[in-house]
């Protein structure tokens, strides 16, 4: 079973809406509506509108487009079903658009246990492709459809919003999260050491001779991915200026439902490579429906991520792998520490500092008032005469307390330790 969970993280003030079923976008023919598995999310920002379009009809694909404000999407459903050109249009031309297609899952036979896929070795005893269009995606709001393949596919669409941590955020910080779960996936019977990898195709309206880049950077915060301090960003060329698209992920996958350190395994990425034969790969996808023949002038590349770690017993050991990536428009978000971390640190350092300052002031005040009085004060006299008071107030051994009082009476307090004295009685 392959489970894809797609969710949107958006800022409340952006005002976004989910077209839960495609009828909102003008789908009128129930046959087509049942056939097409399209979800549409629109986010209105102050300066632009972001359109997120998810399509699971064949290959799972996601299109993100940034348009000027108040622009609308229209889909010509008949043409969309037929896989024709230009079935998706916006009322105003997008400033930027890009999309991905989850093209295929590779299964490779890792005989030498390197956890490294040889992408170029197409030998069928080594590499097998599970084409995504052969999976039967089921979108929860839609009817269940018959399962034609050995692997059944579930798609869960989760759209959630959450409270902004940074109120100055623009619509560019809306991200889309995709969880890929390979749960009890049947492995190729002739492969002894199966591992899996995901190949993702990427298209954007950058020029065809530019390239997307994968940057890995270190992050301090591993709160949501215990023990992993790396962030991987795949950025389209325009992402440098903050007006492009990105994919972001942590190089970690989990081999059990509980995403904790002991269940974590590594991922490996294989860089980006150009895709020459656009049409075969992108035919019948959202990207082709939108970009159509323009794809020849646009950037189309592919990348892959494999899951697993040397000596981990291969996929068959747990029969489970899950991995998450984020997709968004703008600059890849930097981490920020969670409230808990900030809270503990500020309390932990603030309290001792406060205590030190207060006690310093109290002591200074006391010292000044002591100096004013040549003799010991009533308070101190009282202390000297009450043994129990002394003990509790001074936490001293009896003898020390007595001696302390003796010194106070003789006004030796200010320089008591420098004078070697003998007390006379």
């Amino acid at each position: 079973m392959v489970l894809l969970v797609v969710y949107n993280q958006a800022y409340d003030d952006c005002g976004w809406e989910i077209g839960e079923d495609v009828e909102e976008s003008g789908c009128e023919d129930p046959k087509i509506c049942n056939y097409c598995k399209v979800v549409y999310v629109k986010a209105e920002g102050p300066s632009d509108t972001l359109h997120y379009l998810w399509d699971f009809t064949k290959k799972p694909s996601i299109l993100v487009a940034a348009t000027p404000v108040k622009s609308n999407l229209s889909i010509s459903w008949d043409q969309f079903k037929g896989g024709n050109n230009k079935s998706i249009t916006f009322s105003e031309d997008p400033v930027y658009s890009f999309g991905i297609v989850l093209d295929k899952i590779w299964e490779y036979n890792d005989v030498n246990d390197t956890a490294l896929m040889d992408w170029t070795n197409t030998n069928s005893s080594y590499l097998r492709a599970l084409h995504m269009e052969n999976f039967n995606w089921t979108l929860p709001p839609f009817m269940n459809e018959s399962v034609a393949n050995v692997e059944s596919i579930d798609l869960k669409v989760v759209a959630s919003s959450y409270i902004p941590r940074d109120s100055t955020a623009v619509s560019g910080s809306i991200t889309l999260g995709v969880d890929l779960v390979l749960d009890r996936l049947n492995t190729n019977s002739s492969f002894t050491n199966s591992r899996f990898a995901l190949e993702v195709l990427l298209a954007s309206n950058d020029a065809f001779n530019t390239t997307a880049t994968i940057v890995s950077r270190r992050s301090l915060d591993d709160e949501h991915s215990p023990g992993v301090f790396m962030l991987m960003d795949l950025r389209t060329p325009k992402a440098e200026s903050g007006k492009g698209g990105y994919l972001q992920w942590r190089p970690v996958a989990y081999v059990a439902k509980e995403r904790d350190l002991s269940n974590s395994t590594e991922t490996r990425s294989y860089g980006v490579k150009n895709v020459t034969d656009h049409t075969t790969h992108l035919n019948n996808t959202l990207l082709y429906a939108y970009y159509s023949s323009n794809l020849d002038n646009f950037l189309v590349q592919s990348t892959a991520v494999s899951f697993g770690l040397k000596e981990d017993g291969f996929y068959k050991k747990t029969n489970y792998t899950s991995w998450t990536f984020m997709m968004g428009y703008g600059t890849p978000p930097d981490e920020d520490f969670s409230l808990l971390v900030i809270f503990v640190i500020s309390i932990g350092l603030g309290l001792p500092a406060l205590l030190t300052v207060i006690s310093g002031i109290v002591m200074a005040v006391r010292r000044i008032s002591q100096k004013k009085d040549d003799l010991y004060t009533d308070y101190e006299e009282e202390k000297c005469h009450s043994l129990s008071g002394l003990l509790s107030a001074l936490h001293m051994k009896n003898v020390e307390a007595q001696y302390f009082c003796a010194l106070m009476k003789k006004d030796y307090l200010s320089h008591m330790w420098d004078v070697e004295m003998r007390v006379e009685f």
Binding site: F229, L355, L387, L394, N398, Q402, W417, V423, F425
Partner: protein, 539 residues
């Protein structure tokens, strides 16, 4: 403490016989208990005393893979070898300390602990020989009873011999020997196992290796015996024995322990939390966050121990010279907070914070533990150190479990924040100690010279009052002069007794010891800190 008083303030006290007595061997430095050479010989034995315990403690860790394969253990069974050592000690080392104080005395107590160490290690080895796992666990249990109480005894001995002199350095040195013990163990056990495996295999091999390792426990036992002899001799010559009698620790005394002692215990827990459990989890942290190779990660992880082995005696010496223990404790906690913050919030090369942490840790250990001896009278020290150790064991046992859970589900950043939280608690506690101490005698933050003057004056007041007391005869008449003058607790006790009609002065003349006991009991067992040596000598 009392012996030292004699040395330091001869001008206040009439010269005692002992100076004349020392002839023959005792006149030579190596046999003369007042000479530094004698004390440093004792120090050597004191340090080696713990060596066997620390060496053998980490044997399962050093041979983890071999244990698991030779004895056919699961990882959770393997962990029993440590948990059966540490969990009982949450309670037992408190009783160990108390028994040393109350029943056995320091010498016999130490010998018993060292014997338990040997017996435990032998049982552990036999468990290997006979391939019976429960016997091994039993061995670790017995070994644990001996080992932790031995640490208490070691602290006690150090205070007895070095208080007011090089005490901080001695604590540092003991710490460094402990570290050397585990380091040697980690380096020696693997080759030893390889060598033994040429002749034996499987569980026999483990058994034989453990028997060979038990020689270090025998060495500890030998040290305990020799130390007992030296201590006995020093006591006889220095007449220290009289001082130790008369005051007996009771369990109820614990509730009268000063607040500062409990605060010190809190620091023991809160600070050590952020060191030991961190090091236990550190290797993977360095591998993951800093991309270190496993070897390199191990090295940086053991930096704290390596540095503390070298730095603790030196830093102890520094604290001896400068005094101001509370100040040093605060500084080392602050430094540790800095280290953990660097590890958590930066990618700076971890060698920097780990080395700094090693120094801070050594400084803290050298400055913190001797503070207990400054706030707790000598006859309760065993109990006090026992409590501190027990509380620390409890904290470590619980937190190690919690820390593992945090890493698993919340990651290392949260773990570091967790440790920072504990360190901040330690910092608050040390600031409170500083405040309490400043508001009382200020003893903890004095320089050694100030402490000496303080102690001398304290004793001088006492001596003078005693003279006055003996001269004035009965205490039943209290003159206005008495009321105007400062009183020692001795004076006040007598006054109290005279009010309730006890014939103090006669008793004092009859039997100094007896009056002290009866006083002690009648004045509702207040913590007497009176220096009884000077009293009995006067009589």
């Amino acid at each position: 403490m009392d012996g030292e008083f004699q040395n330091d303030s001869d001008h206040l006290m009439p010269p005692s016989e002992e100076d004349v007595e020392l002839t023959g061997c005792a006149a030579k430095p190596c046999c003369n208990p007042t000479h530094w050479l004698y004390r440093f010989m004792a120090l050597l034995f004191m340090s080696l005393l713990g060596f066997g315990s620390y060496f053998c403690y980490d044997i399962p860790g050093a041979l983890q893979d071999n244990f698991i394969s030779d004895m056919e253990l699961t990882t959770s069974e393997f962990v029993y070898l440590y948990s059966w050592y540490s969990w009982p000690n949450v309670v037992l080392c408190f009783f160990g300390g108390f028994l040393i104080d109350r029943v056995f005395g320091i010498r016999l107590g130490t010998i018993i602990c060292a014997t338990l160490l040997v017996v435990g290690q032998i049982i552990f080895a036999l468990g290997g020989v006979f391939d019976t796992f429960w016997l091994m666990v039993l061995g670790r249990f017995v070994f644990g009873i001996g080992g932790e109480s031995l640490a208490v005894a070691q602290n006690y001995y150090a205070v007895l011999w070095f208080k007011g002199k090089e005490l901080n350095m001695v604590f540092g040195l003991q710490l460094s020997f402990a570290r050397v013990g585990s380091t040697v163990n980690f380096n020696v056990m693997e080759p030893l196992y390889q060598w033994v495996s040429k002749y034996y295999s499987g569980n026999m091999c483990i058994g034989v290796v453990l028997i060979i390792a038990s020689t270090t426990c025998f060495m500890s036992l030998f040290c305990a015996l020799f130390l007992a002899y030296m201590d006995k001799r020093a006591e006889r010559i220095l007449k220290r024995k009289i001082a130790q009698e008369g005051q007996v620790v009771r369990l109820t005394d614990i509730k009268d322990f000063p607040a500062i002692f409990w605060l010190i215990s809190i620091i023991c827990v809160a600070y050590y939390m952020a060191v030991f459990p961190f090091i236990a989890l550190g290797k993977v942290f360095f591998e993951r966050k800093f991309d270190f190779t496993p070897d390199n990660a191990n090295t940086v992880n053991s930096m704290v121990y390596i540095i503390s082995a070298v730095a603790s005696p030196l830093l102890g010496l520094l604290v001896d010279k400068v005094g101001k223990n509370v100040f040093w404790v605060c500084i080392s906690i602050l430094a540790s907070i800095g280290c953990h913050a660097l590890l958590a919030f930066t990618f700076i090369n971890p060698y920097v914070p780990m080395c700094l942490l090693g120094i801070a840790y050594s400084m803290l250990a050298s400055a913190l533990w001797p503070m207990v001896a400054l706030v707790i009278p000598e006859y309760q020290l065993g109990t006090a150190y026992g409590i501190a150790q027990a509380v620390q064991n409890l904290g470590l046992a619980v937190i190690t479990l919690v820390a593992g859970k945090i890493v698993d589900s919340g990651g290392y950043l949260l773990l570091e924040v967790f440790f920072l939280g504990w360190l901040c608690l330690a910092l608050i506690t040390s600031v409170v100690i500083w405040i309490l101490d400043t508001n009382s005698s200020g003893l903890l933050n004095m320089t050694p010279r100030q402490r000496e003057v303080f102690e001398r004056n304290r004793l001088a007041v006492e001596a003078l009052e005693r003279e006055k007391l003996l001269a004035s005869g009965s205490m039943s008449d209290i003159t206005p002069h008495d009321l105007l003058q400062p009183h020692s607790d001795f004076h006040i006790r007598n006054r109290y007794l005279s009010r309730i009609g006890a014939p103090c002065s006669e008793l004092i003349i009859d039997n100094g010891k007896q009056i002290r006991k009866s006083l002690f009991h009648e004045v509702h067992s207040r913590k007497g800190t009176q220096n009884s040596l000077s009293l009995s000598e006067q009589l």
